[in-house]
Symmetry: C2
Subunit: 131 residues, 2 copies
Protein backbone atom coordinates (compact mmCIF):
# COMPACT_ATOMS: atom_id res chain seq x y z
CA UNK A 1 0.00 0.00 0.00
CA UNK A 2 2.18 2.82 -1.24
CA UNK A 3 2.06 6.56 -0.63
CA UNK A 4 2.84 7.58 2.90
CA UNK A 5 2.16 10.83 4.59
CA UNK A 6 5.45 12.41 5.50
CA UNK A 7 5.93 15.91 6.77
CA UNK A 8 8.26 16.52 3.80
CA UNK A 9 5.57 15.68 1.27
CA UNK A 10 3.09 17.71 3.25
CA UNK A 11 5.39 20.74 3.22
CA UNK A 12 5.99 20.39 -0.51
CA UNK A 13 2.26 20.23 -1.22
CA UNK A 14 1.66 23.22 1.03
CA UNK A 15 4.36 25.24 -0.71
CA UNK A 16 2.77 24.66 -4.09
CA UNK A 17 -0.77 25.23 -2.88
CA UNK A 18 0.02 28.53 -1.24
CA UNK A 19 2.14 29.89 -4.08
CA UNK A 20 -0.66 30.82 -6.48
CA UNK A 21 1.75 30.58 -9.38
CA UNK A 22 4.10 27.96 -10.87
CA UNK A 23 7.22 27.30 -8.80
CA UNK A 24 10.62 25.91 -9.67
CA UNK A 25 12.06 22.99 -7.73
CA UNK A 26 14.39 25.41 -5.98
CA UNK A 27 11.51 27.66 -4.99
CA UNK A 28 9.62 24.67 -3.63
CA UNK A 29 12.71 23.61 -1.71
CA UNK A 30 13.20 27.07 -0.23
CA UNK A 31 9.55 27.41 0.81
CA UNK A 32 9.22 23.87 2.15
CA UNK A 33 12.52 24.09 3.99
CA UNK A 34 11.07 26.63 6.40
CA UNK A 35 8.64 23.94 7.51
CA UNK A 36 11.07 21.00 7.39
CA UNK A 37 14.53 22.29 8.04
CA UNK A 38 16.67 19.34 6.94
CA UNK A 39 14.82 18.96 3.65
CA UNK A 40 16.99 17.80 0.76
CA UNK A 41 16.72 18.60 -2.91
CA UNK A 42 16.43 14.93 -3.89
CA UNK A 43 13.35 14.58 -1.71
CA UNK A 44 11.77 17.58 -3.40
CA UNK A 45 12.46 16.17 -6.86
CA UNK A 46 11.19 12.74 -5.88
CA UNK A 47 8.00 14.15 -4.47
CA UNK A 48 7.45 16.42 -7.44
CA UNK A 49 7.76 13.35 -9.64
CA UNK A 50 5.30 11.47 -7.47
CA UNK A 51 2.82 14.35 -7.48
CA UNK A 52 3.12 14.54 -11.26
CA UNK A 53 2.45 10.82 -11.53
CA UNK A 54 -0.59 11.27 -9.34
CA UNK A 55 -1.66 14.13 -11.62
CA UNK A 56 -1.80 16.36 -8.61
CA UNK A 57 0.79 18.57 -10.30
CA UNK A 58 1.47 19.61 -13.87
CA UNK A 59 4.77 20.64 -15.40
CA UNK A 60 5.16 24.15 -16.75
CA UNK A 61 7.97 24.23 -19.27
CA UNK A 62 8.94 27.54 -20.79
CA UNK A 63 11.65 28.06 -23.40
CA UNK A 64 15.09 28.30 -21.84
CA UNK A 65 13.72 28.04 -18.33
CA UNK A 66 13.96 25.34 -15.71
CA UNK A 67 10.82 23.29 -15.20
CA UNK A 68 8.16 24.79 -12.99
CA UNK A 69 5.25 23.04 -11.30
CA UNK A 70 1.66 24.10 -10.82
CA UNK A 71 -1.44 22.46 -9.40
CA UNK A 72 -3.14 20.37 -12.04
CA UNK A 73 -6.79 20.35 -12.97
CA UNK A 74 -6.86 23.89 -14.27
CA UNK A 75 -7.86 22.99 -17.81
CA UNK A 76 -6.18 24.20 -20.97
CA UNK A 77 -4.33 27.44 -20.42
CA UNK A 78 -1.04 29.18 -21.09
CA UNK A 79 1.47 31.31 -19.24
CA UNK A 80 2.85 34.78 -18.92
CA UNK A 81 6.52 35.28 -18.13
CA UNK A 82 7.53 38.59 -16.56
CA UNK A 83 10.71 39.93 -18.12
CA UNK A 84 11.53 41.90 -15.00
CA UNK A 85 10.92 39.69 -11.98
CA UNK A 86 11.03 36.37 -13.83
CA UNK A 87 7.84 35.12 -12.25
CA UNK A 88 5.41 33.03 -14.23
CA UNK A 89 1.64 33.52 -14.13
CA UNK A 90 -1.28 31.60 -15.52
CA UNK A 91 -3.34 33.11 -18.27
CA UNK A 92 -7.07 32.52 -18.10
CA UNK A 93 -8.25 31.57 -21.55
CA UNK A 94 -6.95 30.18 -24.81
CA UNK A 95 -8.49 31.26 -28.06
CA UNK A 96 -7.25 31.11 -31.59
CA UNK A 97 -7.06 28.79 -34.55
CA UNK A 98 -3.60 27.38 -34.08
CA UNK A 99 -3.80 24.42 -36.47
CA UNK A 100 -4.33 26.95 -39.26
CA UNK A 101 -0.82 28.29 -38.73
CA UNK A 102 0.84 25.12 -40.03
CA UNK A 103 1.73 24.55 -43.70
CA UNK A 104 0.26 21.72 -45.76
CA UNK A 105 1.59 18.33 -44.77
CA UNK A 106 1.88 19.12 -41.08
CA UNK A 107 -0.65 17.63 -38.70
CA UNK A 108 -1.14 19.80 -35.63
CA UNK A 109 -2.13 18.00 -32.43
CA UNK A 110 -1.29 20.62 -29.84
CA UNK A 111 0.19 24.02 -29.23
CA UNK A 112 1.93 26.15 -26.66
CA UNK A 113 1.66 29.90 -26.21
CA UNK A 114 3.79 32.02 -23.92
CA UNK A 115 3.31 35.74 -23.45
CA UNK A 116 6.21 37.91 -22.31
CA UNK A 117 6.11 41.32 -20.76
CA UNK A 118 5.64 42.99 -17.41
CA UNK A 119 3.41 41.67 -14.66
CA UNK A 120 1.18 43.98 -12.60
CA UNK A 121 3.85 44.24 -9.92
CA UNK A 122 6.53 45.25 -12.41
CA UNK A 123 4.62 47.33 -14.99
CA UNK A 124 5.21 49.97 -16.13
CA UNK A 125 8.70 48.87 -17.11
CA UNK A 126 11.72 51.18 -16.81
CA UNK A 127 11.69 53.68 -19.68
CA UNK A 128 14.79 54.61 -21.53
CA UNK A 129 16.15 57.91 -20.15
CA UNK A 130 13.97 60.77 -21.40
CA UNK A 131 15.86 63.23 -23.55
Amino acid sequence: MPARNTKQKEAIRAALESAGRPLTADEVLARAKSAVSGLGAATVYRNLRTLLDESWLAEVQLPGEVTRYELSGKGHHHHFHCRLCGQVFELPACRGDFPALAPKGFEVTGHEVILYGYCPGCAPPPRRPRA
Copy 2:
Protein backbone atom coordinates in the same frame (compact mmCIF):
# COMPACT_ATOMS: atom_id res chain seq x y z
CA MET B 1 41.56 42.57 -35.56
CA PRO B 2 39.42 39.73 -34.26
CA ALA B 3 37.51 36.96 -36.05
CA ARG B 4 39.66 34.49 -37.97
CA ASN B 5 38.64 32.06 -40.59
CA THR B 6 39.22 28.57 -39.29
CA LYS B 7 38.10 25.37 -40.94
CA GLN B 8 36.18 24.54 -37.74
CA LYS B 9 34.12 27.72 -37.93
CA GLU B 10 33.64 27.14 -41.64
CA ALA B 11 32.38 23.60 -41.04
CA ILE B 12 30.01 24.80 -38.31
CA ARG B 13 28.56 27.47 -40.58
CA ALA B 14 28.20 24.98 -43.41
CA ALA B 15 26.40 22.49 -41.16
CA LEU B 16 23.84 25.10 -40.18
CA GLU B 17 23.43 26.46 -43.68
CA SER B 18 22.80 23.09 -45.22
CA ALA B 19 20.46 21.82 -42.53
CA GLY B 20 17.34 23.74 -43.53
CA ARG B 21 16.01 23.46 -40.00
CA PRO B 22 17.16 24.38 -36.49
CA LEU B 23 19.94 22.15 -35.15
CA THR B 24 21.08 21.31 -31.65
CA ALA B 25 24.72 21.77 -30.65
CA ASP B 26 25.11 17.99 -30.82
CA GLU B 27 23.69 17.89 -34.33
CA VAL B 28 26.04 20.66 -35.40
CA LEU B 29 28.95 18.80 -33.86
CA ALA B 30 28.03 15.56 -35.61
CA ARG B 31 27.60 17.23 -39.00
CA ALA B 32 30.68 19.43 -38.73
CA LYS B 33 32.79 16.55 -37.46
CA SER B 34 32.62 14.85 -40.84
CA ALA B 35 34.44 17.85 -42.29
CA VAL B 36 36.82 18.42 -39.37
CA SER B 37 37.45 15.11 -37.66
CA GLY B 38 39.04 16.23 -34.40
CA LEU B 39 36.35 18.82 -33.72
CA GLY B 40 35.50 19.26 -30.05
CA ALA B 41 32.22 20.19 -28.40
CA ALA B 42 33.71 23.26 -26.73
CA THR B 43 34.69 24.66 -30.11
CA VAL B 44 31.17 24.16 -31.38
CA TYR B 45 29.68 25.95 -28.36
CA ARG B 46 32.18 28.78 -28.63
CA ASN B 47 31.48 29.28 -32.31
CA LEU B 48 27.74 29.10 -31.80
CA ARG B 49 28.10 31.81 -29.19
CA THR B 50 30.19 33.90 -31.57
CA LEU B 51 27.74 33.45 -34.43
CA LEU B 52 24.92 34.47 -32.10
CA ASP B 53 26.83 37.58 -31.09
CA GLU B 54 27.34 38.39 -34.75
CA SER B 55 23.60 37.87 -35.25
CA TRP B 56 24.41 35.31 -37.90
CA LEU B 57 22.49 32.78 -35.83
CA ALA B 58 19.39 32.88 -33.66
CA GLU B 59 18.53 30.66 -30.73
CA VAL B 60 15.46 28.45 -30.94
CA GLN B 61 14.33 27.54 -27.47
CA LEU B 62 11.42 25.18 -27.07
CA PRO B 63 9.90 24.08 -23.76
CA GLY B 64 11.82 21.21 -22.21
CA GLU B 65 14.22 20.99 -25.14
CA VAL B 66 17.88 21.79 -25.50
CA THR B 67 18.67 24.98 -27.36
CA ARG B 68 18.66 24.81 -31.13
CA TYR B 69 20.20 27.25 -33.60
CA GLU B 70 18.94 28.56 -36.91
CA LEU B 71 20.15 31.13 -39.40
CA SER B 72 19.02 34.57 -38.37
CA GLY B 73 17.36 37.19 -40.48
CA LYS B 74 14.21 35.21 -41.13
CA GLY B 75 11.88 37.73 -39.50
CA HIS B 76 9.27 36.97 -36.89
CA HIS B 77 8.17 33.35 -37.00
CA HIS B 78 7.48 30.35 -34.80
CA HIS B 79 8.22 26.64 -34.80
CA PHE B 80 6.67 23.25 -35.22
CA HIS B 81 7.95 20.34 -33.14
CA CYS B 82 7.32 16.84 -34.48
CA ARG B 83 6.21 14.48 -31.73
CA LEU B 84 7.51 11.48 -33.63
CA CYS B 85 10.94 12.33 -35.02
CA GLY B 86 11.65 15.24 -32.70
CA GLN B 87 12.74 17.54 -35.51
CA VAL B 88 11.91 21.21 -35.39
CA PHE B 89 10.65 23.17 -38.40
CA GLU B 90 10.04 26.82 -39.06
CA LEU B 91 6.51 28.03 -39.54
CA PRO B 92 5.99 30.70 -42.16
CA ALA B 93 3.69 33.30 -40.71
CA CYS B 94 2.50 34.63 -37.38
CA ARG B 95 -0.98 36.00 -37.04
CA GLY B 96 -3.15 36.62 -34.04
CA ASP B 97 -3.82 39.19 -31.39
CA PHE B 98 -1.68 37.86 -28.60
CA PRO B 99 -1.66 40.91 -26.31
CA ALA B 100 -5.43 40.47 -26.02
CA LEU B 101 -4.88 37.17 -24.20
CA ALA B 102 -3.43 38.83 -21.10
CA PRO B 103 -5.52 39.99 -18.14
CA LYS B 104 -5.68 43.61 -17.01
CA GLY B 105 -2.49 44.80 -15.39
CA PHE B 106 -0.19 42.74 -17.58
CA GLU B 107 1.77 44.49 -20.29
CA VAL B 108 2.56 42.18 -23.20
CA THR B 109 5.76 42.90 -25.11
CA GLY B 110 6.26 39.62 -26.93
CA HIS B 111 5.00 36.10 -27.40
CA GLU B 112 6.06 32.62 -28.36
CA VAL B 113 3.99 30.00 -30.15
CA ILE B 114 4.94 26.38 -30.66
CA LEU B 115 2.86 23.91 -32.61
CA TYR B 116 3.13 20.19 -31.92
CA GLY B 117 2.14 17.31 -34.09
CA TYR B 118 3.44 15.24 -36.97
CA CYS B 119 5.67 16.57 -39.71
CA PRO B 120 5.14 15.61 -43.37
CA GLY B 121 7.69 12.82 -43.06
CA CYS B 122 5.97 11.35 -40.01
CA ALA B 123 2.27 11.98 -40.66
CA PRO B 124 -0.05 10.15 -40.51
CA PRO B 125 0.84 9.15 -36.95
CA PRO B 126 0.41 5.59 -35.68
CA ARG B 127 -3.27 4.96 -34.94
CA ARG B 128 -4.38 3.16 -31.87
CA PRO B 129 -5.17 -0.48 -32.73
CA ARG B 130 -8.48 -0.59 -34.62
CA ALA B 131 -11.09 -2.67 -32.85
